[in-house]
Amino acid sequence: MPLDLSALPSPVLDVEEIWSRKMSRRAKVIKELVQTEKDYLTDLELCIREVVQPLRVLQVVDVDRLFTNMETVCEVSAALLNRLHVAMSDPDPEAVVIGEVFIQAKAALEDVYKIYCYHHDDANMSLKAYEKEEQIKQHFTICILALKKIYDQEGKPNLLDMGSLLIKPVQRIMKYPLLLGELWQATPEDHIDYLPLQEALTAAKIINVNINEFRRRKDIVMKYKRLENDEGTLRGKLNKINIHSLRKKGDRFAGYLKILTGVEPQVRDEVFDKEEKLFRSLEKAVRQLAKNVNCYVQYTQEMVPVAVQNVKDMENIITDPSKADTNGSSHKNGKDPYKYFKERMEELVLLPLTSLQGMFTAPQKLIQKRYDKLLDYCCRLERSSSFASSSSTTVSSTASPASDAPPGPAKRDYEAINALLVDELQRFNMAAYTILTNCVLCLVALLRGLMVCALVGAPAVHQLPPPLSNMVEVQNSIMDELNNLTFVKDNAQKLMERKVSFERQRDKKTVVQEVQHQTEEQRAWLLAEYPPNRLYQLKRKCNGCQEQDLSLLEGELVALLEDTDPLGSSSRWLVHNGGDKGYVYSTFLKQYNPLRDSQRANQKAKEQQQPPVITYEDFDDLSLFVSPSSSSMRSLSLNTTDSSSTLSGLQGELENAEEPEESVDDDTQQYYAVYAFHARCEQELSLQEYQHVRILQFCDLGGNKQWWLAEANGQKGYVPANYLGRMSYA
């Protein structure tokens, strides 16, 4: 069949035809573009007028949350439309450049739509929440109906509800690439608008990609935050366990081990690493600073009141209540500057630092997540590379389909998180750094302020009286004067020696000073040598502390040689105890009354038998006036002698006397055993209950007054004194 030449279009005409077809199509698209933009703008304006603004007035819903920045979107759209009109106004269709309009507008478009789209999900959720409330739903319905009426009037019935209003901007921005794409395809290549349109198209696509990315980041954070909340419970944790998660964890663990053993991960992001390091340093710095400042403020709080009080106390010591002592005192305003300091410190430094500290935790978790994703990704890469290498050895051309799929999601996740973190960590770090340095500066300023306040009211250094260079000498000389006061001299030494001897006693407990008993011969000698009025008796045991002091036992005799000591003290006497001479404090001594001893013994003996006899000798012994059996008076009698004399003391005297008792009636020494006593050894004497005994001695050979030498049934032996009772004859 021969070709029908008339069917073939002529080449020249074709080009022209194509060109004109394109141009007409282009005009259509432009018209559509402009028209849709116009409609869109009208919709926005109406929505704002009929819905947003009335709702704002009503104040029943959070309008900003629902509509985000719709008003701004409206403005941008209006501007865009304006420019489109300007571009279109050129009568020559070949000179119309639409692409430029969009190129110039791309930044504004991205900014405004990014925000709107970012918050759109939130807005939808709030909308759903609001619609659950009847009252608010009513309001919405009213607004929508008003809007509907307008549309109906214009002959554009639309199915409207709040949701469809909210989604309009989202739909619009997604339309631009489509429209621009169509326009570009309709534009002949040699049209001046061709390249600009191409650029505009790319820009529109990028805008959409960015918006998506921006949303995606938020989604990631939300996802992991939600997971954390769920994971928190044990149940959540258990739910997570399945083969997939176990495998994932296993891989990760292997990854960690690899890192630990020094094998480098395949994927690194240096920018991220740098930011992360900075992040960690900042966290540490903030944490430590907060802690340290807190510590410092606390110490200041503790110290200051005490210090201020000290100055006041010192002043009080010096001042005489009767006359005021002026001395440029109380230079510190006390607590107030410090209190102010603390408050400001808390406000300016601690509060921001703790807020900042709190903000570190969420990013840290995300960083950890990123790390996990990184390991996953590396793991997959390895596997796929090993797979690929293994597969390359076996199968040549056909790449195993499995090698492509796995890196996909892991890579995507990792890269998403990484990008998010890199961007936001940078901003975080910068802001945190500023806050940190501000806090440090505030700290320094506060400290300086504190110093200023402390100096208020204080004299300047040169105004103060110059320091006494000889202060030490002055004080020392006063101390010397004080030490020369008699009462100090008298007692300080004794105190010192007492202290020293106490310490010595503590150190060497084994050394017990055995005090020599005075012998009978010594007593006899003293009695012979000295007149009675020079003889004294020890009221109680005296331990000599100073060098030439005597240690004497109670009841021992001494003769007074001197009634003053070398230092002139009249309370220390030089005495002779028949063997030695030495010093004794006079308070230990009382006049020796030789008669008293024996008489006392007699009296004690006769006490039970005779009616009280009035003798002149012994006023001290009130037992004269007392009935024999009354023991209370007996104790009174004891008290009127010396405070330190005891029953045993008296008995000691009885013993120390020349023991005239032996010549006294047996009856007088009659005691009886209140309880039975079993002798445990030879020296002891067994007694039966109520057995009569006669006491030979009221102490044992060692002077112990707890054991008495008793005689019964011709046997002698020691018996415990508290087993014995005195026989009283009626």
Partner: protein
């Protein structure tokens, strides 16, 4: 019986006059109060110097930690600031130490020395009391003898008693006089003794704070280039915190 051996119910004749007792008590009380004051002040001053040192150490820790932070490696400006801060803090610590030493020497040690006199005083008062008791006892004994009939043995006893009484009485009076003399002197000595200490204490504080002010003024000049006021800094900090809160990586529940 024409005498009562002992008269129950009659008040004892005052051995020592009331005025003497009152004087003594007054002086003694003043000194007791002084003793308490010095003891308390000594303890408190020791406590406050310890707290002072702790406070200073805390301040040094602030700057030391900051200086050792890795931030300093990355940022030269930060390193410079922190070094300046650290130097200032260390100087503060040194001055504080010196202040504390000074106070130790001029106030705390003298306080201790002064307090060491009090035990002797207390002992002397006790002995005087003992002597007083002895005196009273013997005095009443003499009086008893004096009221008896003057028989031979009675007179002898009376003489003996009087003999016994005399040294004791003298002893007491000596002690009493001595203390009455010396207590006021002791009390008065405190003024001259502590005046220099007080002045030294104030001086130490003033010197310290003046130095500190200088140090911190210098430091402010060194590290604060922007020269903002506290309020401005606070606002800036607040703004930055808000910026942080708006980041999506920071949990904003």
């Amino acid at each position: 019986m024409n005498w009562m051996p002992f008269k129950i119910g009659q008040p004892k004749k005052q051995i020592v006059s009331k005025t003497v007792e009152r004087d003594f008590e007054r002086e003694h009380e003043k000194l007791q109060k002084l003793e308490d004051q010095t003891k308390k002040l000594h303890k408190d001053m020791k406590k406050s110097t310890e707290a002072d040192l702790a406070m200073s150490k805390a301040a040094v820790k602030i700057s030391a930690d900051l200086l050792s932070n890795p931030l300093c490696e990355q940022d030269q400006a930060f390193l410079d600031s922190m070094t300046a801060l650290d130097t200032a803090m260390k100087r503060m610590d040194a001055f504080n130490q010196e202040k504390v030493n000074q106070i130790q020497k001029t106030v705390i040690d003298p306080l201790k020395k002064y307090s060491s006199v009090f035990p002797s005083l207390n002992m002397a008062v006790k002995r005087r009391e003992q002597a007083l008791q002895d005196y009273k006892r013997l005095q009443s004994k003499v009086e008893k003898y004096e009221e008896k009939e003057k028989t031979g043995p009675a007179i002898v006893k009376l003489c003996q008693a009087k003999d016994e009484l005399r040294p004791v009485k003298e002893d007491f009076e000596a002690k009493n006089k001595q203390l009455l003399d010396e207590m006021p002197k002791f009390y008065q000595s405190r003024i001259d003794y502590f005046q220099p200490s007080f002045e030294a204490l104030i001086r130490a504080q003033v010197v310290y704070f003046t130095e500190m002010y200088n140090i911190f003024s210098q430091l402010t000049d060194q590290i604060d280039e922007a020269g903002l006021t506290d309020e401005q800094r606070q606002k800036e900090t607040e703004a930055k915190l808000n910026e942080l809160r708006s980041l999506s990586i920071v949990a904003d529940d």
